[in-house]
Each structure stands twice: as structure tokens, then as C-alpha cells.
Symmetry: C2
Subunit: 380 residues, 2 copies
């Protein structure tokens, strides 16, 4: 327990709540959740499932119809043949991460991951008694690991690589060749690979490549939360190699019994044409926000050397404003009412010189936020 | 992973499914899930929550209204004052178990528990790198631990006791004095106590006593699955001591982000008078089934020395029919089409001489099952 770090942003969010209760207006650029409710066809499918009495347990790995729908999704969107039997539904991507780490990590094992990256990744590794190895990444590799970095950082205790594309907090995706080289390296060196693909679908140029295109050994985490807009339903999935199916099902049975039943039936509607149209409109709106926010932040003096290709985050270098981005985030909330996430939530490497901005709020509010930040950093 | 045991009953259930697909009629006396759908007011509240757009994340510990409703439940039903702040909502009791074990168990630690007990308990301990210590229990202690047993079995590595009342698989509840003595022993010897109370409400005589009456240090697991009939929604809770609140919230945030939002809003309706009336009718029906099944099984030759007071299980001694209850369960399904759970799923102590019967099916079907079992064991 001593190893599980709290999120510093929680402290800022609690402060934001208190300020709001006292009547202050806060622009929220810290939230890792789309600002859209679940699409109407998904909600309606959930309501119908409840009316039909879909309230009991399901198979541990999820209902066959949904596993097949996800398999079809891989064929349609990626042109990949992923058998439904390799797809394990989980309580959110959190459940998929727990399952993946449970399958791979024993006490004393090490997992190599980018610094910065999603804070829960390292916490799941530690929860299993393992240890993360942080590998500093910067603009030169698109804030991602590459084969050269992992070759230099992997040690005898390294059992797995953890990748994320597009990444939280940087929004950058792994170029196909870089991803393929990482998977090749892992295969040759006998390491497992866990790839977080939960922001797939939310990309604003080339779609992100799936690790499943290059490897049938990768463990791929995905979710209905982000692109499909179903955060609160808590439904994700893990794709496992054929060799891991039985153990994964057994472990899922032990850890979860089964994923949420109403959520599974609702998610069947996520792949319908009318839903996909709504999701595409939302994707276009996220792209519009990114295309506004990145130049606006650069204008303020934040350095953003690589254009983020996906997710809904911008990881800005705040070194022009000092060497303590947590203090900057505190000042942002106190002085101008803008909530942002300090880099120290995501790692150590130049973390005090970075801020994560989330564009999970409307264009109006983003403009308001940028205006306030310009007051803060003295660029009025 | 090697330590996580599969459930033998899964194999039998898979066989049952194949036989049913081939047209055979199977009486299901193996299922640990109430045979009632969620009560109408709960389903309606879930539908309304969805219509109202309750599809985003909540606080990691759950919505304040539900934490307060559970606190009120403790006051109304148990006359106990449990502050809402000590109540952490989780994805099912499975999530509560994971959270409790994550808080208490480090690699190498041991957790003392009854043999027989719910198989996931030991698997969660092992998942955390710990080891279960099985303590054989029998009719003399109501198939429960007592202060004398734990005093004799606890070792230097024992960090916690795990209790369950009413117990799965035995249906027996801890008498208040026995529970209090166990909690006293734990306090004096500096061990933590985790108490599984997920079958509370499903008792057919005296209500089961809560560990919270005797200790504010116990970690108590409960769930909306069994008494409240919300299995597939995946919602449980953990009551933690004041001293553990912050760590529990932090760990829940990391492991789960938050529990299912539609489930939480639906669960608010679980405490309404109209719902409680439905649940009381169901409780009475379970009592009726128990009162039929226990004498009927005794009549067949299964020994049931202690009347199970709660849950929906009977743990019958099958030694009159040989020393291999798994083989007996296999014969039951093949020869007479009755699915039952062999004792080896719950422990080692005389496990081959026990069968768990679940009365989660209608009285008609139970009578049919008993009739078929009487053919199997030659008491026609």
C-alpha cells in the first residue's frame, strides 16, 4: 500500500470543488472523461436490457454476442482477424489492466514503461508486487518508447513492456514502424507486451495502428469508456494470446465473477451505424478543440514540440514559467480558476516542467480557460 | 497464476450445458445466484438513471447518497452508527475483497480462514502474493472458526482472519458470542479481521450479527448481489476502519476508478419500502425451500448435523455414498441430470465427503432434483 501513489490532481480537484461551492467559476481542463453522455442508442439498449430482466451474472469472459461484436469491429476497422475467444470483457480498462498484470507479473518482476505515462499503470505493477522501470521519453521519440530505448533499459528482471498509443498524458500515437520494432524486440528478447489502446478511435489524422496487426502475442487493453463514451458503465476488454485464454478466463472468474450485465447489453449498440455516426461527430469536435488548443497554448509560451495525434490531451512543456508545474497548477486554480494536471502525476522525467491539458470541455470553455491562463502567465 | 485454482463446478456446468444443448433436462442445484431477477423498483430506478444521463464516472468511493443510504441501513437494521465515510462502494463483493486484501496482505503474509470456505477468498490472498492458512472446521463449531481454533492455528506470519457469516458453502452463521470472541482475539493479538457478510438479510431465524457491532476495526464486505438481488449489476461495498479510509479510497481510485454508475443509482431504490417488501417475500421463499430441502436430503442419507441458518446453501456430508464426492457429482449430472457442487471446490477438510446443494431454483425443481438424487443413491 505504501507504494500506491495518490494523484496530485485529486488534491486540485478537491480544491476546485470547494471553490465552486463558494461560488467561483472553474474551467475544467483536468478531466480524463469525455464531456458527452453515452450516445442515445447505447442508453436505449441499456434501458431495454434492464426491462428484459438482464440483471444476472454472465459468463466470466462476457456474453458471446459482445465478444463477437468486438471481433467484428477488429475486422471492420483494422482488417484483423481476432477470434472472439481471445477477447475477455472486463470491468473497465482498469479490470483489463489488473487481469494483464495478474497474468504476467510476479513479485520481484519489472515492467518497462514510458515516463511520462498513465499513473495507474505503475500502480497496478506495484499492486502485484512488481516494480516499474521508468524510461524517460521526449519529443525525439514522440514521447513513446522505441526499440533502442527498451534495448538499453531492459534488465534481467524485466518481464514485460507496457505501451500506450495514443498515450495519456501526451496524446501521441506510436508510428506503425516504431510499434512493430518494439514488438519484434519483445519477441526476440522473450518479453511480454501490454498495449493500452483505450484511446483508439479518438485520433485526428491517421488512425492509430493496433499492436494486434504485428503480433498475436501482445496483450491489448481497450475500453468502451473513451471513444464509445461509456465511462460510468465500467466496461473494457483484454485481448490475450491463444495460449493465455484459459488462464485469463480463470483469473477473470476469480477476480470479477463477470462484467456488468446491463453494460454488456448496452455495448452491443455501440457498433450500430447510428451510434457510430454520433461518435464520429464527437471525434470531429475533439479534433476541432485540439486544433484550437495546441496553437493557443504555444502562443502562451507552452512548448508542444510534437502535435498530439489522439486522445484528448496536450502535454505542454511549462519550463518558460518556472520549474514547479504543481505550483503553477495550484496558482492556476487559485488565481484564475483553471484546473489543469501537473506533470508529476505521470512520472518523474521533467515532470515539474510539464502540464497536462485535457480538452474534455466545450470550445467556449477552452477559450475562456486559455484567456485566463494568459492572465496567469502574463500574456494579456 | 499457478496458484489460482479453477472451480471444479465449472467443469460440471460446462458438461450440463452440453447435455442441455443435446436436449437433456438438468436440475440446477449448483448455482450461487438467486433465481429472481432484480426487483422491479430497482430496475426502474436503473432505467430512470440512464434516461437522466447518469453514465459518467462517480467519486471513487461511490455517490454520497448511496453511501448515506447504506449508513442508514446499518442504523435501521442493526442499530449501528456506521458513518457514510467508512463505506466504500466497489464493483461487486469481488471488488471489496480485492480492496480488503490489497490493504492488508503483502507477499509472504498469511491469512487464516475456515476450511471449507468460498474458493475466491484464498485466491485473492494468493493473488496478493500471500498464502491462506486453512483451518478445518466441522459441526462442533457450526462449520465456523472460533477463538480456540484461531489461537491454535495463527502463526507469526498471520496478518488477518477471514470470516464469513452466513458462510458459503455451509449456510451457517457465527453466533454473536463466537463472533465477538474472534474479534476480541484478533484485537488482542494484533490481527486484522475481514468479514464476508454478503448473505446478510438471507437468514431464516435470528438475523446474523454484524462484526461491526463488536468492532470498529473489522473490514466488512457486503454486496447488493444476494439479498438485494442485483448480481449482474456488480455492486458491493467495503466498510473500513476510520484509519483505513484514505488508503482505501486511494486504492479504489487506482483499481476501479469508480463503481458502475447506473448500478449505484439503481441501488438507491434497494432500500425503498416497496423493494424491501419484495425482498422479504423472496426471503420467505428461500426459507421454505431450505425447510423442504434439508430434511429431504437427510432422508436420502446425506448427513447435515447443523441446520444452515442463512444464504441458500446446504453442505451435506455424502460419506454414506463413498469417498469421492466429485465422482458423485459427475454421476449426478450424467445419470440423473442434477448439477451439484463437489466439496473440493471449497477446501480440503473432508471435501471428498461433502456436496454443496444450492436452493436457488423453484420448489418444483428442488423436488424433481431430490427425486432424481434418490434414484442415484438407490433410495427409490
Amino acid at each position: 500500500m505504501r507504494c500506491i501513489a495518490p494523484f496530485h490532481v485529486m488534491e486540485l480537484m478537491a480544491r476546485a470543488r470547494r471553490l465552486e461551492e463558494a461560488g467561483r467559476d472553474i474551467v475544467h481542463m483536468e478531466v480524463g472523461e469525455p464531456d458527452f453522455p453515452s450516445a442515445a442508442p447505447i442508453v436505449e439498449a441499456g434501458r431495454q436490457a434492464l426491462a428484459a430482466g438482464r440483471t444476472g451474472y454472465t459468463e466470466a469472459a462476457g456474453i458471446p454476442a459482445l465478444r463477437k461484436a468486438i471481433s467484428d469491429h477488429y475486422r471492420r476497422v483494422y482488417d484483423l482477424d481476432i477470434p472472439a475467444g481471445r477477447i475477455i470483457l472486463t470491468p473497465g480498462a482498469s479490470g483489463a489492466l489488473l487481469l494483464a498484470m495478474g497474468l504476467l507479473v510476479n513479485p520481484g518482476d519489472e515492467v518497462l514503461m514510458a515516463d511520462p505515462s498513465y499513473p495507474c499503470n505503475r500502480n497496478f505493477v506495484r499492486f502485484m508486487g512488481g516494480q516499474e522501470q521508468r524510461c524517460a521519453v521526449g519529443p525525439d521519440t514522440g514521447y513513446q518508447l522505441d526499440a533502442d530505448l527498451v534495448e538499453r533499459h531492459a534488465g534481467p528482471a524485466t518481464v514485460a513492456l507496457m505501451l500506450a498509443s495514443p498515450s495519456n498524458p501526451t496524446g501521441t500515437a506510436l508510428p506503425p514502424a516504431q510499434l512493430e520494432a518494439l514488438l519484434d524486440w519483445a519477441r526476440h528478447s522473450g518479453r511480454a507486451v501490454v498495449v493500452d489502446e483505450i484511446y483508439h478511435g479518438l485520433t485526428y489524422g491517421e488512425p492509430a495502428a493496433s499492436a494486434l496487426k504485428y503480433s498475436d502475442q501482445a496483450l491489448v487493453i481497450n475500453s468502451f469508456s473513451k471513444y464509445f463514451g461509456m465511462t460510468g458503465w465500467r466496461l473494457g476488454w483484454l485481448v490475450v494470446p491463444e495460449t493465455h485464454v484459459r488462464e485469463a478466463e480463470k483469473l477473470a472468474q476469480n477476480l470479477f465473477i463477470s462484467p456488468s450485465t446491463p453494460a454488456q447489453y448496452a455495448a452491443l449498440a455501440a457498433f450500430q451505424d447510428d451510434t457510430l455516426e454520433i461518435l464520429e461527430q464527437r471525434r470531429i469536435e475533439f479534433a476541432r478543440r485540439r486544433d484550437y488548443l495546441v496553437p493557443a497554448l504555444r502562443e502562451l509560451g507552452f512548448k508542444i514540440p510534437v502535435m498530439p495525434q489522439g486522445a484528448f490531451y496536450v502535454y505542454g512543456d511549462s519550463s518558460a514559467f518556472g520549474d514547479d508545474s504543481f505550483a503553477l497548477a495550484q496558482r492556476a486554480i487559485e488565481e484564475v480558476g483553471v484546473a489543469i494536471t501537473p506533470g508529476i502525476d505521470f512520472g518523474r522525467w521533467r515532470a515539474e516542467q510539464h502540464i497536462r491539458f485535457a480538452y474534455t470541455t466545450s470550445m467556449d470553455r477552452l477559450q475562456e480557460g486559455v484567456g485566463r491562463l494568459s492572465q496567469l502567465v502574463g500574456k494579456q
